[in-house]
């Protein structure tokens, strides 16, 4: 966390992410033209923006340590590897949470303009934070397998893209025609886009919570294995 707080990088990411969320909400999402007192236009772009911004926040978690040699300092501290992985992930997640918290004026705005379902908006924020965790975990894992932040970023965006684009109609129609509806449904279940769709409308599904928590656990486990592999020399 200290590493994020003492470098300008995190502040820049937070500022750019908040600006991008605002821009997409008002321009591409046509927030005012929709004439609805909700944040669906805001939440709609979260998967696509997080797919890029979360790997950018996570890219230095391990790659920078490996490049500078500080990984040796870290891995010789009397702490289990899982605690190091969890600590770094939580620090990155806190940065993502800060960015989401800074979009709070949007929530106030819809309350001034109308009478939104605030519970639905809160649910959207909650699942959005979980989804950010999923993308950060992917970023953490890719950062652990590379000593270059740029390579880590490219790998993480590529993996995150697969977990996002798998739920698009383009991919699902293609898979449906090629491998059948059952396979298409399985592919859709793997997509963050699919699991966030309900949350964007204020519906929190248990299976979606389970999906994002599994995504986090799976990629953090992968991170721990990749970090441990460095002990092999």
């Amino acid at each position: 966390m200290l590493a994020y707080a003492t470098t300008p990088t995190a502040y820049v990411f937070v500022a750019v992410l908040v600006a991008a969320l605002g821009m997409f909400t008002f321009q591409a999402g046509r927030f005012f033209e929709l004439g609805r007192a909700d944040l669906s236009a805001f939440f709609a772009f979260h998967p696509w923006l997080f797919m890029i911004f979360m790997p950018a926040i996570a890219m230095r978690l391990w790659a920078e340590e490996a490049r500078s040699g500080a990984l040796e300092t870290l891995l010789t501290l009397p702490m289990p590897t899982w605690a190091l992985v969890a600590g770094k992930f939580l620090a990155a997640w806190a940065v993502a949470a800060l960015a989401l918290a800074l979009t709070f004026p949007l929530w106030i705005t819809v309350n001034i303009l109308g009478h939104p379902d605030n519970a639905a908006i809160a649910a959207g924020y909650f699942v959005s934070l979980l989804m950010a965790g999923g993308y950060l975990a992917i970023g953490s894992a890719m950062s652990a397998v590379s000593a270059s932040q740029v390579v880590a970023l490219v790998l993480a965006v590529a993996v995150a893209f697969v977990f996002t684009a798998a739920g698009t109609p383009l991919v699902l129609n293609f898979v449906n025609g090629w491998a059948g509806a059952q396979t298409a449904s399985m592919i859709a279940d793997l997509s963050a886009l699919n699991h966030f769709e309900g949350a964007a409308r204020g519906v929190v599904e248990i299976r979606s919570l389970f999906y994002f928590l599994t995504l986090i656990a799976m990629f953090l486990s992968f991170t721990a294995l990749a970090v441990e592999a460095r002990r092999e020399g």
């Binding site: 200290l2 500080a70 990984l71 040796e72 300092t73 010789t76 009397p78 702490m79 002990r231 020399g233």
Partner: protein
């Protein structure tokens, strides 16, 4: 016995970096690992510190097997890695606080150990400056302070005087001498002068094997050119 190394072996691909190395270090000893580049000194130290896992053999710190219980063993080791990697964007004060807390010092009690380590390493003048603005000598001493901050009984220092000017080298040697009264200290070095000046024992390593283990005086007395003669006679130069 504070440190026991038994039959330590490490292979990187087809190259054997450390080949069945065994030695002990007890309190009051300053043991110098001496050898040409690529002899296996750093790999040995990394296995002792728990950074690398040995392929064979064991490292025990106060009887705790590092490979089996790394966390408990690491709490008893102060380690200065090769190249002295630090968190460049931090100040020495923040870095030492981080290391002290990560090494189990209670956050509310961290100031005392941090200031003691900073004083011992003589970095008081630079405590609040970003590490990336410090000279190589200061940075090396920040690394030394980080190795000392939790008051460990075993110090593993990979080239502790590398990058220091003669005055700073002398100060670090005096510090190591003072610390050695109650602790076990293992240092790696290329400097024969350093071995003569501060080590109570010298372990000469060549191509991953121990080729001599004796006091610097005894080693020096066996060869006409002293310690340098021993180094030249017992080692075959830089390993690939």
């Amino acid at each position: 016995m504070i440190l026991q190394v038994e039959g330590l072996r490490k292979r990187f691909g087809r190259r054997i970096a450390v080949d069945a190395i065994s030695f002990d270090v007890d309190a009051g000893e300053v043991v110098g690992l001496l050898g040409p580049n690529g002899a296996g000194k750093t790999t040995t130290m990394r296995m002792i510190a728990g950074y690398f896992e040995p392929d064979e053999g064991s490292v025990k710190v106060f009887g705790i097997d590092v490979a089996r219980d790394r966390v408990r063993a690491a709490a008893r080791i102060g380690y200065l890695p090769e190249g002295n990697p630090l968190y460049e964007e931090m100040t020495p004060l923040a870095f030492l606080r981080f290391v002290a807390e990560a090494r189990g010092v209670e956050p509310k009690n961290v100031r005392g150990p941090v200031m003691r380590a900073a004083q011992a390493a003589n970095i008081g003048a630079a405590l609040t400056k970003p590490i990336d603005t410090l000279s190589k000598g200061f940075r090396r001493r920040v690394g030394l302070a980080a190795a000392l901050v939790h008051d460990p009984m075993l110090l593993v220092l990979d080239e502790p005087t590398d990058g220091l000017d003669p005055n700073q080298r002398q100060a670090v040697r005096v510090l190591i001498g003072e610390l050695a009264r109650e602790r076990a200290i293992l240092i790696s070095t290329h400097s024969l002068e350093e071995v003569s000046a501060i080590c109570t024992r010298a372990i000469l390593i060549d191509r991953g094997r121990v080729v001599a283990d004796d006091t610097p005086e005894a080693l020096a007395n066996r060869y006409p050119d002293g310690l340098e003669g021993a180094f030249r006679a017992l080692t075959k130069g830089e390993a690939a």
